[in-house]
């Protein structure tokens, strides 16, 4: 069994006086998609933000690719090869699409072959390349947010609810993009509320409740057991 690319051991995170993560134990295997599921407000977003250091773990350890990143600042974590797509997409509205992409290429210029590949997946980015990102539609912003994370090769992607509020055609495109990333050998930790998306994409799965992981295993096992789904996730999930 290869070493997981990311391991959280007993992670606690407080936001002011709220104790959000209450001992999260999570492993993200290399080269697969791990779905992080759970009701609203159980700590999924906090988990991602704690991994990238935007909120600090008060207790516990985070190990990425064998190295302890618990106390590393956010920029160092990002430069270690972790791409982050936040729930609010984090688009720079006053910057153009091009400037958003150039900013994400932290090592220098954008690789043109990779950019062409991204344009084939997300043609609207080419159409609006010189326009202000703030003028894009919701779906186009999400495309930009994910393309920005993909503009350079990363080993691990943390993606927070990318399909929220998007039309089925856009969701299908995002799914294919993420599957393509997986095929290239990247590891993905994906927070998702849409169980159909989770089932279509996930290899492994972790379910959160009250700031803890309450179940972890193969996505196929969860997808095949309606009773387990009902017990772990309840009715807040969208219908498959």
């Amino acid at each position: 069994m290869p070493e997981p690319i990311l391991r959280l051991a007993g992670v606690h995170t407080n936001i002011q006086r709220y104790h959000i993560l209450q001992g999260v134990d999570l492993e993200v295997p290399r080269g697969g998609v791990t779905m992080l599921l759970g009701r609203n407000g159980v700590g999924k977003t906090t988990t991602l933000r704690t991994i990238v250091g935007l909120w600090r773990a008060h207790r516990g350890n985070l190990t990425y690719d064998g190295a302890d990143i618990t106390r590393l600042p956010t920029p160092a974590i990002a430069r270690a090869g972790i791409g982050f797509v936040p729930e609010d997409m984090g688009i720079f509205a006053d910057l153009t699409v091009e400037e958003n992409m150039r900013l994400a290429a932290v090592s220098g210029d954008i690789d043109t072959a990779r950019l062409d590949w991204l344009f084939t997946i997300f043609p609207p980015l080419k159409t609006f390349w010189s326009g202000a990102a703030g003028n894009l539609s919701g779906g186009q912003k999400q495309m930009l947010s994910i393309a920005r994370a993909m503009v350079e090769e990363r080993r691990l992607y943390l993606i927070d609810e990318p399909t929220k509020g998007l039309a089925p055609a856009i969701v299908a495109t995002l799914l294919r993009a993420l599957r393509d990333l997986k095929d290239q050998g990247a590891s993905i930790l994906l927070v998702e509320q849409n169980f159909a998306v989770a089932r279509a994409l996930g290899d492994t799965c972790a379910v959160m409740d009250d700031g803890r992981i309450i179940w972890a295993g193969a996505m196929a096992d969860l997808a095949a057991d309606a009773g387990l789904q009902e017990r772990l996730i309840g009715l807040s999930m969208e219908a498959a």
């Binding site: 990238v52 935007l54 600042p73 956010t74 920029p75 990002a78 430069r79 982050f84 936040p86 609010d88 984090g90 720079f92 509205a93 006053d94 910057l95 400037e99 150039r102 900013l103 994400a104 932290v106 084939t120 997946i121 997300f122 043609p123 609207p124 159409t127 703030g134 779906g139 495309m143 920005r148 055609a169 856009i170 299908a172 495109t173 294919r176 993009a177 393509d180």
Partner: protein, 343 residues
């Protein structure tokens, strides 16, 4: 791989009002100049006041530009900014007083060399001071506005007292370099040479700042950081380091503005930074926090209005810019060209 659905956007024909709308703040400057032309009876007086107002505006812009970016980038309210203006002025004037052979020579080259050396001295001194100020005074109070106001105000008071200790309690009078003295006559108006130099210098500096912000990587990081600093860090950039650089550059610009202001007023006092700080804050607020372009337009409006009103109705000169701020904030509560902040 199937591509995302694409579509060609349908472009509506914009009405004239919609086409003009983004340019309204920039149009306010020529509009005010035209208003001044109508209100001021003598054309020569109007021309003199206009150049004077533009020169004043350029100098206020130089002093305010750093402050607006510092606020936009790290949400830091720095009331100590005036200290850099005062220290820059004193250092610059000291350099000028040490170079009488250059300032007194009837040679433009020698005079400009003296000016460059004075500016260089002021910029280096205030940049170093800015670095220390950020490390010692600002860094411990990130995210706490009330503490920032109190502690940076304290820093300003300490800096003023240190000026009194080093340079003494008396104000220092100075004369401009030989070739920058006097005025040129144009269309019957006497226009001071130094004001023309200040206008030209301000324009060059504004263009340079816009070039840095629009065309360089550090500019891109700063603009993104003003909008959403957290995301910039998540992309891999150390925003704290960028902020220190911006703070140091902003302090140096304030010092530069201080030298120019000293030569404009031909006198320096320990409190000059504090006095100009009111106008600097008005400019930052009406421009839109974090916006260099808004700051530039705001500074020109403040400079022009101050000069026109002081000529037409001297008693109203002091309140004219407060009135301008009120009107602009009633029209655009976030300032003329606010930077979109991430929620």
């Amino acid at each position: 791989m199937t591509a995302a659905p694409d579509h060609t956007p349908t472009m509506e024909r914009l009405t004239l009002a919609q086409q003009i709308e983004p340019w309204i703040p920039a149009l306010l400057v020529p509009a005010l100049i035209v208003l001044g032309f109508i209100a001021i009876p003598a054309q020569s007086s109007w021309l003199t006041l206009t150049v004077s107002g533009l020169a004043m505006g350029m100098m206020i812009f130089i002093m305010a530009s750093g402050l607006t970016v510092v606020f936009g980038l790290m949400d830091v309210i720095n009331f100590g900014h005036g200290a850099f203006v005062s220290v820059g002025a004193f250092v610059g004037v000291t350099v000028l007083l040490l170079l009488p052979q250059l300032t007194g020579a009837p040679s433009l080259l020698a005079n400009l060399l003296a000016l460059v050396l004075a500016i260089a001295g002021a910029v280096v001194a205030t940049a170093l001071m800015g670095w220390g100020f950020e490390r010692v005074i600002v860094m411990p109070v990130y995210g706490a506005h009330l503490k920032q106001i109190l502690v940076t105000m304290g820093g300003l008071i300490i800096a003023e007292q240190l000026i009194l200790v080093i340079w003494g309690p008396d104000e220092i009078f100075l004369t401009r370099p030989e070739t920058l003295k006097g005025a040129v006559t144009f269309m019957g108006a006497a226009i001071e040479k130094y004001r023309l130099v200040a206008v030209a210098f301000g324009l060059v500096l504004f263009a340079a700042m816009i070039w840095v912000l629009r065309s360089t990587r550090i500019g891109l990081i700063v603009r993104a950081g003003v909008e959403n600093g957290e995301m910039v860090e998540a992309l891999g950039y150390r925003l704290r380091v960028v902020f220190v650089l911006v703070f140091v550059a902003g302090s140096a610009l304030a010092g530069l503005g201080g030298v120019m202001w000293a030569l404009y007023q031909e006198v320096v006092t320990a409190h000059m930074g504090q006095e100009i700080l009111i106008l600097v804050f008005i400019v930052v607020i009406i421009g839109g926090l974090g916006s260099v372009e808004g700051c530039f337009i705001g500074a020109l409006l403040v400079g022009l209005l101050q000069n026109y009103v002081a000529f037409l109705e001297p008693k109203l000169a002091l309140v004219s810019n407060i009135g301008l701020m009120m009107i602009i904030l009633l029209w655009r509560p976030q300032g003329m060209m606010p930077v979109v902040k991430a929620k």
